[in-house]
Amino acid sequence: MPWEGFTMHWFVDFFRDKLLWAAILNTVIIAIGVICLSIPIGLAGAFLLTNMQSRTRSLVYSIMISPILTPGVIIGISTLIFWDNFGVPGGIFLAIIGQTTFIASFCMLLVMARLQRFDKSLEEAAFDLGAGHLQVFWRITIPFLMPSILSATLIAFLLSIDNFNTTLFVIGTETTMTLAIASKVRLGLTPMINAFSVFFIVFTIIAAIVYGIYRQKEAKKALVH
C-alpha cells in the first residue's frame, strides 16, 4: 500500500481490540503459572543432579534435559494425550503444564551452573555453628542461588510468552498473545500487527535492559566481596 503519512490510527486500533487484550491476559496468567512451577522443579532437579554420583546420573540428566531436545509440538501432543485420559481438555492449565515441561529444563541448567560453584564449607560452617537443615537451606543455599533463580525467572517468562509450538496443541479454545499475532499475520498484512509488534519489542527490550543492569550490579558486587 502506498505511504501516505504517519498515523496513530493502528495503535488506537490495537488498544481497542478486546480479543487481543484477552489473549494478553491469558499470556500473563500462563507465564506466572509457568514461573511458579518451573522454578521449584528446576531447583529440585539441580539439587538432585549435583548430589548424584552414580551411573544413574547420566540417565537422569539425559531425561531431564530431553525436553530441550524435543520439538515443541511433540511436548504439546504428549501433554494433550496424557491429560485427555483424565478428562482434562486443552486450555490455560494444560498450556502451563506443557510449557513447564521444557522451561523447567532451562531453569534447572541455569540453577545447576551456579550450584556447582557453591562452596560447601559455607554449609559446613553453618552446621558447626548449630544451624539446622532448613535454616542452612533458607539462609545460605537459597540466597547463594538467588541470582540464578532470578535469571531463570526472566528466561522462563520470556520463553513462556514467546511459545508457539507447544501452546498451539494444548491451548484448546483459548488463545494467547503469540497465537493471536500468528493468526493475524496469517490472515494478512494489517499495520495493526506492526503497531502491536512495536509495543511488544519495546516491552521486551526494556525488560532485557533492566535484566542487564541487574546483572552488571551483581557482577560488581561479586568483585567487591
Binding site: 494425550i81 551452573a113 508457539f164
Partner: protein, 357 residues
C-alpha cells in the same frame, strides 16, 4: 541409594523428600509417561467397523423406540378416557421395552464413541503409503539439514570472530545486536522477513524503484522464503554454543600454529574446529530440532503449496480428529530428531552432558 543418603545428610529429610517428590513428578508425570502414552496411542486405532455397526444399530433402535413412544402416548390418552385392563397391561409392557431399549442405546453410544482398540502398525503403514505425506516428511528433513548447514557456515566465522578476534567491547556490542532480535518472538522475526520478501514488500519495492527489476519477484513461492526465515530465526542457537566452546581456546595454540607456518585454513581445520566440536554438535542439534519442529515459519513465509510435516500432524489432531494417526506422525518426527541427535553425538564424539550444559 547412596545418592539419596547423601542428599538427606546434606539437606535433611524434609527438603530431600521435596526434592525427590518434585523430581519424580516432573520426570515421570510430565516427561516420561506422556511420551510413552503418545507412543502407545500411535500403535492402535479404533475399530471403525464396530463403530459403524454401532451407529447403524443406534439408528434402527432409535426408529423402533420412536414407534414405541408414539404408541405409549396414544395408549396413555386412552387410559384417561376409556381405561381397559388390556390397555393397561400393554402400557406396562411398552414401558418396560422402552426402558430396556434406552439402556441398550446408552451402551451402543459408548461403543460408537469409544470403539474397541485394534493394536497394530496401521498408522505407520498409512504414512508409508501416502505419497504426499511421505514427500512432505522427506522435504522437511532435507530442508532442516540444509538450514542447519547454512547456519553452521554462517555462524562458525561469526563465533570465531566474537571469541578470538574481536575486542571485549566490540564483542559485547555485537552480542547485544545478536540477542535483541531473539528476545522478540519467533513469529515477529518471521513476520519481519515476510514484510521484506512479500510480493509488494520492501525488497521488491526497492529493486523496482531503483530500476533493477521491472516486475516484482515472487520470493515466497517455494521453500526459499522458509529457508531464509529459519536460518535467520535460529542463528543464535548456533552462534552461542560454538562461541562458548571457542571462548576457552588458548590463543597461544593458534599463535604457535601460525609461527610454525600453518596456513589460516589449517589453523581452523586442525585447532579451532576440533576444539569447538561440542559447540558445533550442540548448535547443529538445536538448529535441526527447531527447524524440523517449526510450525509458524512455514505458515507465514511459505507459499500456498509448501507445507511442513508439523502442519500435517496438526491437521490430524484438530481437523481430522484422528489422534492415533497424529501420534504416529509425531513419533516419526520425534524419532527423526532423536536419530539426528545420536548421529551428531557420534560424528563429533561428544557425550550428552558435554553437548547440553
Amino acid at each position: 541409594m547412596a545418592d539419596i543418603f547423601k542428599l538427606t545428610k546434606r539437606y535433611g529429610k524434609i527438603i530431600t523428600a521435596f526434592i525427590l517428590l518434585i523430581s519424580v513428578v516432573w520426570v515421570m508425570g510430565m516427561i516420561v509417561t506422556p511420551q510413552i502414552l503418545m507412543v502407545e496411542y500411535s500403535f492402535w486405532h479404533s475399530d471403525e467397523h464396530v463403530r459403524h455397526e454401532a451407529w447403524v444399530e443406534i439408528d434402527e433402535l432409535n426408529a423402533h423406540l420412536n414407534t414405541i413412544y408414539a404408541e405409549i402416548e396414544e395408549r396413555e390418552q386412552k387410559s384417561v378416557t376409556t381405561g381397559t385392563v388390556e390397555n393397561e397391561n400393554r402400557l406396562k409392557e411398552l414401558r418396560l421395552e422402552l426402558a430396556t431399549g434406552e439402556s441398550k442405546l446408552e451402551e451402543l453410544g459408548k461403543t460408537a464413541h469409544f470403539p474397541p482398540r485394534v493394536y497394530g502398525l496401521k498408522n505407520y503403514v498409512h504414512l508409508g503409503g501416502h505419497d504426499l505425506h511421505r514427500n512432505v516428511l522427506l522435504k522437511t528433513i532435507l530442508a532442516s539439514v540444509f538450514v542447519t548447514l547454512i547456519a553452521l557456515m554462517v555462524c562458525y566465522p561469526v563465533a570465531y570472530y566474537l571469541a578470538q578476534v574481536a575486542s571485549k567491547q566490540t564483542a559485547a556490542l555485537l552480542f547485544l545486536g545478536l540477542i535483541i532480535p531473539y528476545i522478540v518472538s519467533e513469529i515477529l522475526r518471521a513476520y519481519a522477513w515476510f514484510m521484506l520478501l512479500a510480493y509488494q514488500g520492501t525488497i521488491n519495492t526497492l529493486l523496482m524503484k531503483t530500476g533493477i527489476i521491472a516486475d516484482p519477484i515472487n520470493f515466497m513461492g517455494g521453500s526459499w522464503g522458509i529457508v531464509v526465515g529459519m536460518t535467520y530465526a535460529y542463528i543464535l542457537f548456533m552462534v552461542f554454543p560454538i562461541y562458548n566452546s571457542l571462548e576457552n581456546l588458548d590463543r597461544n595454540q593458534i599463535d604457535a600454529a601460525k609461527d610454525l607456518g600453518a596456513e589460516w585454513w589449517r589453523v581452523h581445520w586442525r585447532i579451532a574446529i576440533p576444539h569447538s566440536k561440542p559447540g558445533i554438535a550442540t548448535g547443529c542439534i538445536l538448529t535441526f530440532m527447531l527447524a524440523a519442529g517449526t510450525f509458524a515459519i512455514p505458515v507465514i513465509l511459505g507459499g500456498p503449496d509448501t507445507i511442513w510435516f508439523t502442519q500435517i500432524i496438526y491437521s490430524w489432531f484438530f481437523d481430522g480428529g484422528n489422534w492415533n494417526q497424529g501420534a504416529a506422525y509425531a513419533f516419526v518426527l520425534l524419532s527423526v530428531c532423536i536419530g539426528f541427535v545420536l548421529l551428531m553425538l557420534k560424528i563429533f564424539k561428544v557425550r550428552v552432558e558435554e553437548a547440553i550444559k
